[in-house]
């Protein structure tokens, strides 16, 4: 899928031409992005600085320069902000640990069996084909109060009778991990698929143990795949609010940044707070992504 496309380009631009046609090709798309991607960011920033209309009703704001909105949301929602980044980090690492062996198996071990490879890749992306909400709901039922999983945990004494699985950080992080696993597996696969196995043989010829061949050869070579995988997983998780919502796996105690933005914007109509939180989330992600890409040296991600 899209993630597959993130592999560095092989032939790329053979011999780029100069032509007027390029304007015709570019303009419609760029105008669209200008109108509906750039200006919305401007709208978010201006909205985040709005102030309430004096004597106005709910959801009535006027243009302003109320930088205090940022201080307010940080004070009010610091817990959810920190939680979002912790959950997203843990879930991303879990997805990496889960996906790496699968990606290695499909990309390296199954390399000589293209049909098997194709089938396994289909299985990896299969969860994408069932609705995101339906698969999250399935886990809600599986972890529900009267489900056999809960009963098993209670029977074995691992969980008290008055305890619930749903609404705990554990189950929310589990759900986040599950939902975004394909985003991790695919870029890892595209990277490992191109791993030169002669290098692994060289390692074992030189009497390196499999573990040290892995850490000295395979792992460093797979860092571009790990970079795009972790970014593609971390970013949507940091903004997700379905998994952690009370209707699915979460509770008020697991609310994330996305949940706060959603409730401020769509329910209590506090648009400036929702906008300020969105601007901060986006700024944090832009900073993180640029540091991360510079550190791992994978500019060709673009």
């Amino acid at each position: 899928m899209a993630t597959l496309a993130l592999k560095p380009q092989k032939l790329a631009t053979a011999q780029p031409k100069k032509s007027r046609i390029v304007l015709l090709l570019l303009l419609p798309g760029l105008i669209y992005l200008g109108l509906f991607f750039i200006t919305p960011f401007a709208a978010l920033i201006t909205t985040s600085l709005q102030q309430p209309v004096l004597g106005g009703g709910i959801g009535q704001y006027q243009p302003g320069l109320e930088f205090g909105n940022y201080a307010f949301v940080v004070g009010e929602y610091l817990e959810q902000i920190i939680r979002s980044f912790i959950y997203a980090t843990v879930a991303t690492l879990l997805a990496l640990a889960f996906s790496y062996p699968i990606a290695y198996f499909i990309g390296v071990k199954a390399r000589n069996y293209p049909i098997l490879q194709g089938l396994m890749l289909t299985l990896v992306i299969a969860p994408f084909f069932i609705s995101f909400l339906l698969r999250t709901f399935a886990w809600k039922e599986i972890f529900g109060q009267d489900s056999w999983v809960s009963n098993l945990l209670r029977d074995t004494g691992l969980m008290a009778d008055n305890e619930f699985l749903l609404g705990t950080p554990l189950v929310v992080i589990f759900g986040l991990t599950y939902n975004f696993i394909p985003f991790m597996t695919l870029p890892l696969y595209t990277n490992l698929e191109r791993l030169d196995t002669a290098l692994l043989e060289a390692g074992s010829d030189l009497y390196a143990k499999p573990a040290s061949t892995f850490w000295k050869v395979t792992f460093p070579l797979s860092i571009p795949g790990i970079t795009s995988g972790t970014l593609l997983t971390f970013i949507p998780i940091a903004g997700d609010y379905v998994t952690a919502s009370r209707s699915f796996l979460g509770s008020p105690n697991t609310a994330m940044l996305g949940n706060v933005i959603e409730s401020n914007f769509l329910r209590i109509q506090d648009y400036p707070s929702a906008a300020a939180l969105s601007v901060m989330l986006m700024a944090a992600i832009v900073v993180l992504v640029s540091i991360y890409i510079r550190r791992t040296g994978t500019e060709d991600l673009l």
């Binding site: 899928m1 899209a2 597959l4 496309a5 032939l11 631009t13 053979a14 780029p16 031409k17 100069k18 390029v22 090709l25 570019l26 798309g29 992005l33 509906f36 991607f37 919305p40 978010l44 909205t47 699968i102 290695y104 198996f105 194709g118 396994m120 289909t122 299985l123 990896v124 969860p127 084909f129 609705s131 995101f132 909400l133 339906l134 999250t136 709901f137 399935a138 039922e141 599986i142 529900g144 009267d146 599950y178 499999p210 970014l231 593609l232 949507p236 903004g239 997700d240 379905v242 699915f248 940044l257 996305g258 933005i261 959603e262 769509l266 969105s278 989330l281 832009v286 991600l301 673009l302």
Partner: protein, 267 residues
């Protein structure tokens, strides 16, 4: 040799178990599409085919499904056309702001849905545009566009530019080179991109929730229903979409494998 046999069996076993794990919610949804709904809302109540034969007895879920198909079809058509044009421009042409254009095309992929949804909603709010199907389509074109661009770009990267050169050498006008050589070669990439765009649009909840007002799409229907329990008809639609998509992917894969084989024979 013990470590080799360990590696030999451990990795395949793990992979198989991982696939089983990945399939759990899919299996759950499929099984519960046969649940008899007439007694209670949650839990297994008994087997029935009624949900499959009479999906539209639950008219709400069918209307929501119809809306989602309409939105996804329109959004996919527009974003596939715009995205393909952009992909060709940034890979095949030299122009002044190419690297900043590439960055602009990458940025939507790095933007969390909640930010994109809130930004568009803030803009519609400021401009006084009422939310509805139209605003949802605008939003879906936006967030699928970059996915189309990266997918088509990847396909262009694998094309041999000599084929187009050959066309030009034989005095074919640029339009003819494009329609007879470039476009047919790009077609698998464009098809894959539009499938992806359709799937993303059809399944989107977050951006839709911010920009749809009172219009209900299939994901919005499921979200609202999740508080009490999902009606089995929704599981029927989810399962049917799943099998349809899997069938499509397999057809593509087998088609690709056969094409590769026949090419190998010719050479």
């Amino acid at each position: 040799m013990s470590r080799f046999s360990l590696g030999k069996y451990l990795l395949p076993t793990y992979t198989v178990l991982a696939f089983v794990f990945l399939m759990i919610p899919i299996a759950y949804t499929f099984v519960f599409s046969f649940n008899d709904p007439f007694k209670n809302t949650t839990g297994w109540q008994g087997f029935t085919f009624d949900n499959w034969t009479g999906v539209c007895n639950n008219i709400d879920v069918c209307l929501a499904f119809g809306n989602s198909v309409l939105i996804a079809t329109t959004a996919t058509t527009v974003s596939t056309i715009l995205g393909t044009m952009l992909a060709i421009a940034v890979t095949r042409y030299e122009f002044k702001f190419r690297s900043s254009t590439n960055l602009l095309l990458f940025l939507p992929l790095a933007t969390p849905e909640v930010v994109m949804g809130a930004g568009l909603a803030a803009q519609f709010l400021n401009a006084g545009i009422p939310k509805g199907i139209g605003t949802v389509i605008v939003a879906h074109i936006l967030f699928t566009l970059s996915f189309v661009v990266v997918t088509v770009k990847a396909r262009i990267a694998t094309l041999d530019p000599k084929l187009e050169e050959a066309g030009r050498d034989l005095y074919a006008p640029p339009i003819r080179v494009f329609t007879k050589i470039t476009l047919p070669l790009l077609l698998p990439g464009i098809m894959a991109a539009s499938l992806l765009a359709f799937a993303l649009s059809f399944d989107d909840y977050i951006i839709t929730a911010f920009n749809s007002g009172t219009e209900v799409t299939f994901p919005k229907y499921v979200f609202a229903a999740a508080v009490r329990g999902i009606p089995p008809e929704a599981n029927v639609i989810g399962s049917a979409v799943f099998f349809f998509a899997i069938a499509l992917v397999l057809v593509f894969q087998i088609g690709g494998a056969m094409r590769a084989k026949s090419l190998a024979k010719k050479n």
